[in-house]
């Protein structure tokens, strides 16, 4: 059983309705801060476990769970004398999977689509029992926040039946490396994951063993002696007083047992190691009957690069039939886990990369160092080949925008090496505005062929390929080959002159040819000097075209 779709209303950063379609296996949610990545993960976990921040939300309802704007809208409507419906929080999980009775049991049309579907619906809503009190509160005019004291939560199937967490055919495990959560020494999450991992037989055995241990404790002569002593001393009641171990609760073992790693209690080991172990535990979930959703919040936190690689590998190896939802800021994580599972989140909208060619998917998975997420997350991007191009383009942009860096206006200048086409594929998928700044290397026809999907009749509004169509030539040779006059440096010289460049580079080259050779030999240094210079140079038109295409006013 899997989650097909999640609908969230008025919960935390989501104002009104938000919807996200999930993939069967891996889901890598990326987005800017505050875009709602964590909220999605929290919502799924809340619906399936009743837990929020590691505690049962039922007992701790608060108006801060509501979207801020939802609350202000409601309060201003109240102020204007309208009687708006008190707002609600809604989390719906639409489920799919094999046609089992468990899945069919959840079918009905109690969902915000009003369609027949299988699923669960968690709500925090006004409790009609308090109608009278609420109306009095409205009349008194003292309502300053959502009247959460009149609220309750409920979990129902789409078939309108109240469900308990225990009765759900789907479970989730949350591994959140960004927060510390402990409860009476033991980590709730670990014990929960371990508990869920046990078959019913195992549970019976462990609880019996625990009971035996407690009973054994009470049979100890020392304990008995103490009980007698207390009994003699304390004459406060007619009844006998003795000490005993709590035998009353059925699952006491769950709270009194602690997880150890080697000789160290779980919560004493490093945060990074903790999240690796939690993830592995969650993935190794053996209970055959229950499909599982594993939720990973920013797995990169607290992990070194090699540990992270290790963790990502185990996710890929052990995913099995589980559904995984990962939130991340890290390109490496996204690339490694596979860009086809990527879900981009911004302004309560989602976009996917699921039409990427298998070839490109493979490429980024193997060469996971590429900054794919920068392209995915920026408003628009200028793709360049290397460091020197990046510096020059940045400076060109600053010169045209009163010293502001492109990133300050949402434009990311990304070095992509020779992988322009791979990145363009991503840009095409998600519709990011992109300009490519490239050298022609003297073969305009080859460049045009390479980018044919984006030029001429195939031109796309949001993608522009910028290079100098004019092929330059000169007398210089490099060894046996002719000098390449169609790269950045010669193009720079073409629109500036020997003196001004000598001035900026602090050199004293005697001729254009000498300057060209020296710039060629010190590309990055040249670019740095241009970038840091007090005076500006003139830029080739194709660079200015790229900047103009990306706007950024």
């Amino acid at each position: 059983m899997r989650i097909e779709k999640v609908v969230i209303e008025n919960f935390k950063c989501f104002h009104g309705r938000f919807q996200i379609d999930l993939n069967d296996g891996l889901n890598v949610i990326v987005g800017q801060n505050e875009s709602g990545k964590s909220t999605i993960i929290e919502a799924i976990h809340l619906c399936l476990t009743g837990l929020f921040n590691g505690r049962y939300l039922r007992n701790e309802l608060s108006q801060y769970l509501f979207n801020k704007k939802t609350e202000t809208d409601y309060l201003s409507a109240v102020k204007e004398g309208n009687s708006p419906e008190p707002p609600h929080i809604l989390i719906e999980l639409y489920l799919k999977g094999e046609d089992t009775p468990e899945l069919a049991n959840l079918i009905g049309n109690l969902n915000s689509d009003g369609e027949s579907a299988s699923g669960l619906r968690y709500m925090v809503h006004f409790n009609d029992d308090y109608k009278g009190e609420y109306e009095k509160l409205l009349e008194s005019g003292t309502l300053r926040s959502i009247p959460i004291e009149f609220y309750r939560d409920s979990l129902k199937s789409f078939a309108r039946r109240e469900r308990t967490i225990r009765s759900l055919p789907l479970r989730s495990a949350l591994v959140d490396a960004t927060k510390v959560r402990t409860q009476s020494g033991s980590d709730v999450y670990v014990s929960r994951i371990i508990r869920d991992n046990l078959e019913d037989d195992d549970r019976v055995q462990i609880s019996q063993a625990h009971r035996k241990m407690r009973e054994g404790f009470m049979e100890e002569p020392a304990v008995k002696a103490i009980s007698e002593k207390i009994g003699d001393d304390a004459k406060i009641s007619d009844q006998n007083i003795s000490i005993s171990v709590d035998l009353s609760t059925q699952n006491a073992w769950e709270t009194s047992l602690m997880t150890y790693l080697g000789d160290t209690p779980f919560h004493f080991i490093g945060r990074g190691e903790q999240s690796i172990i939690k993830t592995k535990l969650a993935l190794s979930h053996k209970r055959a009957k229950e499909a599982n959703v594993v939720l990973l919040e920013e797995p990169e936190s607290h992990l070194s690069h090699s540990k992270l690689t290790q963790l990502l590998k185990s996710i890929q190896d052990d995913i099995g039939t589980k559904q995984i939802v990962v939130s991340t800021h890290n390109s490496f994580v996204a690339n490694k886990l596979g860009l086809e599972g990527l879900i981009l989140l911004s302004n309560q909208q989602t976009a996917k990369l699921d039409h990427l060619t298998p070839d490109s998917r493979d490429f980024f998975m193997k060469l996971a160092g590429y900054d794919t997420l920068r392209l995915v997350l920026c408003e628009s991007a200028i793709l360049v080949e290397g460091d020197s191009d990046e510096l020059v383009v940045q400076r060109a942009y600053m010169d045209g925008h009163s010293g502001k860096l492109p990133l300050q206006n949402g434009i990311d200048v990304i070095s992509v090496g020779t992988s322009f086409l791979r990145f363009l594929e991503i840009a095409e998928e998600i519709g990011t505005r992109v300009a490519v700044v490239t050298d022609s290397d003297g073969d305009v026809a080859a460049v045009k062929k390479k980018y044919q999907s984006y030029l001429g009749e195939n031109a796309k509004d949001h993608i522009r390929i910028c290079f100098d169509e004019e092929v330059d030539d000169g007398p210089l040779n490099e060894g046996e080959n002719k000098f390449n006059y169609n790269t950045l440096e010669p193009k720079l010289l073409k629109v500036n002159d020997l003196n001004s460049l000598n001035g900026i580079l602090g050199g004293a080259q005697a001729s254009n040819d000498e300057l060209l050779v020296s710039m060629r030999a010190n590309k990055t240094e040249v670019a740095l000097k241009i970038f840091e210079a007090d005076t500006s140079i003139t830029y080739p038109q194709y660079i200015l075209d790229a900047i103009e295409h990306c706007g950024g006013e």
């Binding site: 899945l103 069919a104 079918i107």
Partner: protein, 383 residues
């Protein structure tokens, strides 16, 4: 799909038949439903005894809560928007709007006043309209209700199917056509409750479900009707079988089972007896009989267990003592006396609870009824 209706008398092992079907296939997702909670409990108890556990895939649920959970709620949206909070048990036709000056009742109309037609003011659905509502939901959503049901359950078993009436019967036709096994058992003599009364299918009230299925069922998915397989009573002895069968002369008489296990514990006290009111305490003390009465208004002997006739359905006792109604006495004296269907059914149920003896409280003088002994007469003549 395998559909089956078994018609058989009291004590013939109808519930046992269902339980054996469950035991044959405990992994099949099965619903066992029946009208009363008491019978539901009895089924649970018998299943537990037979298998030692209740299989995870078996759901035992009474008819109304089954309809509410799987028929009403999943697709109530679009038909009625307000939340249906539960069920309101009604004995008379529900949805009374007003009365005319002449005192004639006027009811809410289904099409224009849908909500009031189906629901009480507190949002509970009237018990006499649940199955009607289920059919309406199913129709409105193009068969989704039944489709969902057939995905949740692979088999639906209905015990005491004779209690169902009106739209319940139409619903059964739908279930028979759905891709799941339907097994129904019932006894047309034991209609002590009806789920409700309505004009719909009135001709088939009082347990004429076999006729209903014979006449209305289309050829598509047949339903086998078996009135023979369970012809023997494993509970009642010969005298009780003969006495109870005389209530329904037009039906096949029930025969006592003669197998060794059934007849292994022959009691000393056997047969049908009349007991004078003044001898009741004495009789109860002597034979430890269970008292059966029409309802709570009938005075009984405290200190001895007692059940209402209707609610005793499905139970077994060694000896019973029945407090008859006036009509029952009339029938006792003249077997051609026409009892009302409900009264007849309750008397039948009462008689057939006993394995060894049935006593009926009656102030007899010197009359002698065939096949019935007068308790205490011999002793009185001796002393």
């Amino acid at each position: 799909m395998e559909n089956k209706l078994i018609i058989a008398g009291a004590g013939s092992g109808k519930t046992r038949f269902l339980i054996e079907r469950v035991a044959e296939n405990p992994d099949r997702r099965t619903l066992i439903t029946t009208y009363t909670d008491a019978n539901g409990e009895e089924i649970r108890r018998k299943l537990l005894k037979h298998l030692g556990y209740i299989p995870e895939n078996v759901v035992i649920q009474n008819w109304f809560s089954f309809l509410l959970e799987h028929g009403v709620r999943p697709y109530q949206g679009d038909v009625i928007d307000t939340e249906i909070t539960g069920m309101m048990l009604v004995n008379t036709r529900s949805g009374l709007k007003t009365r005319t000056y002449q005192g004639h009742p006027v009811y809410f109309a289904e099409d224009t006043e849908t909500e009031r037609f189906y629901l009480a003011k507190d949002g509970r659905i009237f018990s006499d309209k649940i199955s009607r509502f289920v059919l309406r939901c199913d129709k409105h959503h193009g068969g989704k209700v039944i489709e969902r049901l057939s995905r949740v359950f692979r088999c639906v078993m209905i015990d005491e199917v004779q209690d169902l009436a009106g739209c319940d019967l139409d619903l059964i036709l739908k279930l028979l056509d759905a891709p799941m096994d339907i097994v129904m058992v019932g006894d047309p003599r034991q209609v002590t409750y009806l789920t409700h009364r309505e004009q719909k299918n009135k001709n088939y009230e009082y347990g004429r479900i076999a006729d209903f299925i014979k006449e209305k069922k289309k050829k598509k998915t047949p339903c086998e009707i078996d009135e023979e397989i369970l012809a023997h009573s494993h509970r009642n002895n010969a005298a009780i079988c003969a006495f109870s069968s005389s209530l329904y002369p037009q039906l096949n008489p029930t025969m006592p089972c003669t197998c060794d296990s059934c007849r292994s514990d022959v009691a000393e006290h056997q047969g049908i007896f009349l007991v004078r009111p003044e001898d009741v305490l004495h009789y109860l003390g002597q034979h430890d009989a269970v008292q059966l009465r029409w309802d709570r208004s009938v005075k009984v002997e405290r200190g001895f267990s007692v059940h209402n006739l209707g609610a005793s359905k499905g139970l077994t006792f060694d000896h019973v003592l029945i407090y008859p109604t006036g009509d029952m006495v009339s029938w006792l004296k003249d077997r051609s006396f026409e009892l009302k269907p409900g009264t007849k059914a309750k008397l039948y149920v009462g008689i057939t609870r006993a394995r060894h003896s049935v006593a009926i409280v009656y102030q007899f003088n010197d009359e002698v009824i065939e096949g019935v002994e007068n308790f205490g007469v011999d002793e009185a003549s001796v002393t």
